[in-house]
Point group: none
Chain length 206, copies 4
DNA sequence: AATGAATGAGCGTTCATTCAT
DNA sequence: AATGAATGAACGCTCATTCAT
């Protein structure tokens, strides 16, 4: 028999609020999402939300920090298991789009809502997003050290390039909500073009 | 001596409102931009804005339609003068980032606000953005017909990939407002990686 | 050939504005009627209206004063031609409803819009409306002097009673806009009941 | 000691808002009454009003429906206790003017505002006002069945006639705010004239 | 005289946040 | 801890009125 303590119940309620907020933010957009609607969706009273979060902004920030944090940890773990930088790029692309497909609401919020306020991006999202970008940056630098990626490729540009490409495809999916969209193929294609683009000539068909 | 008629003065005021709105939207975001602030910035009364635009939404929509429309026309004209698809990609990338650097406020609005509301994107920005994306799509298809670009590259993915890459770099610039940003170099790098990525082996160093 | 002087043209424009205002007030109600709409209907510019009337209120007041004034003059003239007080009551009722039928817009304004502000009724309508009511009051007093109407009838109450009755029927017509409404019959019925009510027993079937 | 539950306190607040609105509407007219003024008068915040009513229109509509509804119930009950149709007319007239004197603000709103907007009258007040008018209509028809009222009297006209007469006297009172107004005498006079007007000859002095 | 573009005060309504229970 | 009724600041928009042309 499972014993659920006070702490666990609190944590569970907090999660429920975050999940509901993500859903509503995705559906309506941050500014059109109403606290009362999030509360209703989460099955709590309006006031209860303020026992867990300072204000509406903080809900969005929390969604960002916690989910991107978790995603980064997951990516790091997965990438460690892959020795080849090119394979890492392929896996990164695959994982990125897989997460978008598996968590469309979260993706929608990260894609669309987070961009809307400079403040969010500058003050909060900055670090986490940078950490995420650096996952790619590190792969590229490793590939350059291993002499498989072109040396004239600037990792700071290239990492944004791959991210931007994946992000753009994700946006397409988020907006169209086309469930038949073939992520595997898209991820493979993006990784292929990107790798062709940054690989040294002699490693092009690896 | 310049003779300014009634029509011209009206058009000039309309432009001033759009410019002010773009600036305020860029600075604060659409939802935090106040009509009264836009009016003050434009040097008109609040009510005057409603002589030119139906409501706040329509100001944003007009900014999209008119500026993206103008940009597309400019791009089309420029690209016609360039015969080589690879050069077209290079020029497209350069132009895109040049516009971002020359019109940071407009870029900011197109980058950030455009994404914010499904409604805007789907109903209004959709077509213009699609037209813009198709500029790239056409280049790619021409390159494929001319046998210089890989046939296994899906233009629908690739066009979004280049756009996403440029967009991401633009976001970086818009957010950092780093005036020393070398967009010529960034454009060249992005174009290089992208072209290496989609070019047939025999044309890699063209 | 008719020669239309400056004065005549001004007067004509003034009339046109009043006619348009009456129509719009009737259709939309005073508060929902827009000056620009009245101007459009009258075929003049918004500002022109202010050359003829101090403000929106004054248009309504003018409609009231001028039209009720004209109506009172017309009634006086007509009633003078009728010797019998009972016949005067019948003619008054007939004329009242005839005017409502002939000028539905004016009737609508007098019925509905003028009531909406105490200020109008107290400050402006007071005198004219009183003059109108006194037309009935005088008939009743004449009838009492001529010994055909009951002496215990209070003219101040009775005059309001007949007016209220006619007014109520007019409201019904104004609201329903039932063009098939039989005014002659209604007027006859109201006059009949009223006369039966105030006539001395010996004159009941006069 | 009175125990006041949550429901009761809410109902009390709702009543307070309606009472305040009635007072302000009576004093200023619907369009000149400000929500903030109603709120201040009721001792609540502006926003609180919207917890109880959808919008300003609905406050007016509610006043109509609830008060006219209550009045009609009160009249029905009272009239049932009176067997003679002529006495019913007398009591109806007395009650009508008594209510006007006891609730001058409500009377003012019903008198003046009710008339102001076709929309209100047609959509909302229509039914209630009709029910009220039919109280008189039923009395008249009963009197005709009982052979005490003239058969050539059209109940549809006659009911409006009595109502119009009472209404007009009420308007006089509402506008003058003459507290010394003898509504008993006025009611008696109106009922007398009306009854003389519709009674069969043989029942004139009943 | 006539115009109609411009003005800006004013108000209904929303909704994040608070706090008494 | 949880509630949800109450708050009130904030803002988009309207429209009577003005005034430069």
């Amino acid at each position: 028999m499972k014993f659920v303590g006070k702490e666990a119940r609190k944590a569970e309620k907090r999660e429920r609020i975050l999940r509901s907020a993500t859903k509503i933010f995705a559906r309506k957009g941050f500014y059109n999402a109403k606290i009362s609607e999030i509360a209703r969706e989460a099955g709590v009273a309006d006031g209860t939300i303020y026992l867990y979060f300072k204000n509406k902004d903080e809900i969005l920030i929390t969604i960002f920090e916690e989910s991107v944090g978790a995603i980064i940890r997951r990516f790091r773990k997965r990438l460690q298991e892959i020795p080849d930088p090119a394979d890492q790029v392929r896996e990164f692309s695959r994982l990125h789009l897989e997460i978008v497909k598996t968590n469309p609401d979260l993706a929608s919020v990260l894609q669309l809502e987070l961009r809307q306020s400079n403040r969010f991006i500058k003050e909060y999202a900055g670090t986490s997003l940078n950490d995420y970008l650096n996952l790619i940056g590190d792969i590229i630098q490793n590939g350059q050290k291993a002499n498989v990626f072109r040396e004239d490729v600037h990792p700071g540009i290239a990492k944004r390039m791959l991210f931007g490409a994946l992000d753009e495809i994700s946006t397409l999916y988020v907006l169209l909500k086309d469930r038949s969209f073939d992520f595997q193929r898209s991820a493979a294609q993006i990784a292929s073009i990107f790798l062709y683009g940054i690989a040294k000539d002699e490693y092009r068909n690896s």
